[in-house]
């Protein structure tokens, strides 16, 4: 698939000496939702800021839709919309004035119908004449999204888009982002909400201390790193597991009704068949069973706390 954003060898060292980014290599595919995960200070916002032209890279290059963000900045920037992390708004301006300003700033002629459509999609139309300072935090966040969309960008950066918004609004935004993707817009989002990446992203990148630890399709990542667990609901409660099972990764619930078996879904031998045979030999019957996969959050926590996370993981 063609890369709509190509980041090549980008590093950033701030005047304080802080190395915020270290030789980042990244391709974002056209039309995908890409989630960039990382703890605070990992370099997510710095990377986005460099691509959007707000921060100068110390080295390396970035192409946006095939255009160098420095040499061909006019074309490159006109393709990009940005919703920054901070709620930075012109509090004294009306919603309509600020989105009109944004559209003009990015070189687009006046298009009231388009702006109306955007405001209606974001449930802002009724507030179009309201001063931004009078809006709630969630509404202000929508205004910033409306500003970013006002010039019809092909690439949209959402830096922590749902920080501080309620659950209902978050769901609305997810829907909106999916709608944009369906219309061909490439979405790059950073988030602290792992569930957000799990829910929406096609691919996930994990960054820590300025280094990109991995870039992987979400499903493949969870498949590759995800451990599964098999839960058996027992017919009769067990007081304790027979000694023979002591070498198995088994956990018995406190009430003795549930037995949980942990296994690696990637392993050639999961040991499930052998486990079932042994249970049968010991007359341990079960009435129900189900398996669950390790969540992305667990994977993420493991990655960012692991000192050797990239070993064996492809980009």
């Amino acid at each position: 698939m063609a890369a709509v954003i190509s980041v090549r060898g980008v590093s950033k060292v701030y005047p304080s000496g802080l190395k915020a980014l270290d030789n980042i290599e990244l391709d974002i595919n056209r039309g995908e939702i890409f989630a960039l995960l990382g703890p605070n200070g990992a370099g997510k916002t710095t990377l986005i800021s460099i691509i959007c032209g707000i921060v100068n890279a110390s080295s390396g290059s970035v192409l946006a839709d095939g255009h160098d963000i420095v040499k061909d900045y006019r074309i490159a920037r006109s393709r990009i919309g940005l919703v920054p992390q901070e709620l930075s708004t012109d509090g004294f301006e009306s919603v309509w004035a600020t989105v009109t300003f944004s559209r003009g700033l990015f070189g687009k002629p006046s298009a009231p119908e388009y702006l109306e459509k955007i405001l209606r999609q974001l449930s802002l139309w009724e507030k179009k004449d309201a001063r931004i300072m009078s809006l709630s935090g969630g509404m202000k966040r929508r205004v910033m999204i409306a500003k970013a969309l006002s010039h019809e960008p092909d690439i949209l950066f959402l830096d922590e888009p749902t920080a501080g918004v309620d659950v209902e609004l978050r769901r609305d935004m997810w829907e909106m982002v999916r709608g944009l993707r369906d219309n061909g817009v490439t979405i790059i989002l950073t988030t602290h909400y792992i569930e957000e990446a799990e829910e929406m992203a096609d691919r996930i990148g994990v960054i820590r201390r300025g280094r990109l630890l991995l870039v992987e399709g979400k499903e493949a990542l969870m498949e590759k790193l995800g451990q599964k667990q098999l839960c058996l609901q027992l017919q009769q409660p067990l007081a304790a597991l027979p000694d023979e099972f002591s070498s198995y990764p088994l956990t018995l619930s406190a009430d003795g009704h549930e037995l949980t078996y942990h296994y690696d879904s990637q392993s050639e031998h999961t040991g499930i068949a052998e486990l079932f045979r042994r249970l049968q030999q010991h007359g341990i019957d079960y009435k129900d069973l189900h398996s669950t996969q390790r969540s992305l959050e667990e994977i993420f926590v493991r990655l960012v706390s692991d000192q050797r996370p990239t070993e064996g993981l492809g980009r």
Binding site: V55, L82, E93, S102
Partner: protein, 253 residues
């Protein structure tokens, strides 16, 4: 050139003026009018004419210039400082705009406001003092040139300032004293020879002198020198701003 961006910035800034009309126009017009009332009508009638011009009429160019300088600086400084302060500067930095477009938008709007203010003050002065304009074309020329030049200067201050205090320091502590000591209320020929020489180091002298010449055909310094000094300062401001943008000085990290 991204003319849509120029228009967007210009209209956005001008809208701010209409929204704060009392502060942007009414306040400086009223405060300048008080000078006309006190020095023009009340005290002025008791004072001797300077270069054959009544005192009330003599101070008009200087007072217009004083308002023009301070308001040009304040308007332009605030215009670029406020997005830095509230964080919306990210949008300008990530937009497909170059320095000329940014300057046309911000400095153009700041200069427009100041020119409008200067003309309003001139019209208001007519209520209190009788004056004439010998060279209307040059009067407008000096008005526009000064407004643009000091709006550029204000733009520099707006980028440099990292707080409201710094935003006020230059207009209040430097420009206003220079305007008062630059011949707003007197002709520098009235000063002792040594002070005349020292005063020539004050750049505002050239602005006021040139502007007064366009009214009454009399000047403290040659009008060509006034014009050259103003143009020189304009060019210097452009060079400084270009450097600031090239380096991302206090704009980009």
């Amino acid at each position: 050139m991204n003319l849509h961006a120029v228009r967007a910035i210009y209209l956005f800034e001008m809208n701010r003026m209409w929204r704060t009309l009392l502060q942007s126009i009414a306040s400086p017009v009223i405060s300048t009018s008080l000078y006309f009332v006190v020095f023009g009508s009340a005290i002025g009638s008791k004072m001797v004419a300077i270069d054959g011009i009544s005192y009330g009429a003599f101070i008009i160019p200087g007072l217009v210039m004083l308002a023009l300088l301070t308001e040009s600086i304040s308007n332009a400084a605030f215009g670029i400082f406020f997005p830095k302060y509230n964080g919306t500067i990210y949008e300008l930095l990530s937009a497909p705009v170059a320095l000329p477009e940014i300057l046309l938008g911000y400095v153009g709007a700041a200069a427009s406001k100041s020119i409008l203010l200067g003309l309003t003050i001139l019209l208001t002065a007519r209520l209190f003092v009788d004056y004439h304009i010998a060279h209307p074309f040059w009067m407008l020329g000096f008005l526009v040139l000064t407004a643009v030049t000091f709006s550029l200067f204000g733009f520099i201050i707006g980028i440099w300032a990292d707080g409201f205090e710094k935003l006020q320091i230059v207009p209040m502590l430097i420009v206003t004293p220079l305007a008062f000591l630059g011949g707003s209320f007197y002709s520098i020929s009235m000063l002792p020879p040594l002070w005349q020489t020292i005063t020539l180091a004050n750049p505002v002298v050239y602005l006021i002198s040139g502007f007064r010449w366009s009214f009454y055909d009399v000047a403290d310094v040659n009008v060509g020198v006034s014009l050259a000094m103003t143009l020189g300062f304009l060019l210097l401001c452009l060079v400084v701003i270009s450097w600031m943008f090239k380096r991302g000085y206090r704009l980009k990290q």
